[in-house]
Amino acid sequence: MKLRVQRLITPQSIALVAVLVFNWVLFPGFFSVEWKDGRLFGSLIDVLNRGAPVAILAIGMTAVIATKGVDLSVGAVMAIAGAVAATSVEGGLSVWAAVPLALVAGLACGLWNGVLVAVLDIQPIIATLVIMVAGRGIAQLITQGFIVTFTDPALIYIGTGSFAGLPMTVLIAAALLIVTTLLVRRTALGLLIEAVGVNRSAARFAGISALSLLLLVYVFSGFCAAIAGVIVAADIHGADANNAGLWLELDAILAVVIGGTSLLGGRFSIPMSVLGALIIQAMNTGILVSGFPPEFNLIVKAGIIIAILILQSPVASRLFKRA
């Protein structure tokens, strides 16, 4: 039991607690959670709810980064998926058709990235840049340049509804986290992905099919991005092709890095990446409730990120051990 508690004390969890406490100092009501209209209501819930899209992106991004890759397209894929879902329900499809269609769009984008990286052997940063750049254009074509607003209650429920008092978004993210973690750790996928990330050539020599694993992780990342895209569209009752998921690929990468997965591939932890996403969102929410002038937003954020990254740098961890 003692060992378990120790395992929970990581630079990431310390950082999250520190940010939350900091928020509490700036805004004493930060930890108060109340029951309102059959759901939990409070800043902590906001952190979970608003953090969910980036957390979902980070789940997919972790797998990609573990293979020594990166997926820059996730923000644009979010816009595409949101556009597909919104235009489909507005076009008269039921949510049971619209959402799967959006997810298929995400899978297709992921497959495209996977083929460029795994089959054509294009560097991931370049390969995924293609959809990062073109994806918003595709989304705009789908929405014909409008913000497609919808009123379908079932679709809106995905973004703003709640179940057992918790926001749907949080439940979706949590379910994805649990399923994915079990999938990579209870099967051999986790080990094989790490092997490909550590040394792709050696993986080939050891009889690992790096190609299908790479396809898998990019398709999965596209799938996660599509889920996040549907959530974000459902949240604002509309698909905003210009702004949905804008720059969120960078937040997702940051979440993964804060979570301790190296951009050089190899060892990865999906729960840690989700923790990273929550740290980022705790900062964002903290800034909103603190009342800082908006001009300081980015500086405050940068300062905290630097502090976290220093905290988990090799130099700092050596100091920790000595202490």
Partner: protein, 320 residues
Amino acid sequence: MNILKKLALGAGMAALLATTAMADGMVVGFSQIGSESGWRAAETSVTKQEAEKRGIDLKFADAQQKQENQIKAIRGFIAQGVDAILVAPVVATGWDEVLGEAKDAKIPVILLDRGIDGSPDLYLTSVASDQVHEGAVAAGWLVQAVGDKPCNVVELEGTVGSSPAINRKKGFDDEIAKHANFKITRSQTGDFTRSKGKEVMEGFIKAEDGGKSICAVYAHSDDMMVGAIQAMKDAGLKPGTDILTVSIDAVPDLFTAMAAGEANATVELTPNMAGPAFEALAAFKKDGTLPAKAIITESKLYTQKDDPAGEASRRKSLGY
């Protein structure tokens, strides 16, 4: 004088004769930035409508957010010998050369919606809204609607550092400062987007005692307000009743909210920049009347009394 110059002069004379002959059969080139927002799309379709109304042959070029495309388009218009050029410049700098060429070709240029850093000699006039005034109109409505009661206002700002965000804040804040019963308690950026508007408003509601101490919300754009309205509804508040709303732009989705009683007022950023431009152009072509260097469009206020449902559908057809 060499033959080429003679020929060029001849062509110019012929063009001049042609235009005077049929004053309202003008050919006008329009270099549009792109279609990055609903308002931009509406501006394009209103410009086309206004041209059609006046029997003007509009040559339209979409620059897809790139200045070099705009420069190419303008050179093309000059080569075609159009009667006038409308430009919505994507950036403020780098126009001296190409507008100089238009000036040499004696083609008047009118700037729409945004200004440039350069000599005023390079263009005939510019048509734009007064962003500071927009903020002041929004504040004026709020002051009049609230009266003498104390009122805490929260503000959703545009993208930090952008000129609409700076100006719309200044106009509103300055006007509000004149009234002691008003206080701006919170101000944060919502990046002009729905989702950030919603997220920021959620934070404000938490920070302001579940929204109970908020009297009104002011947003620099309707899109952010649409998000904020959702945040208020999600928190069990009644926007438009519990919390007053005023924002800027007049996009259809805000009129839809207004029709449902969930929004109170919006200040129009008119997509009709071309109308005043064509008026000025016609006067200039007719007897050389020089317009003012800056034509300010009207910042019209819309409230729930102004047939919001009708406005919503009318505007949707414009391409918002």
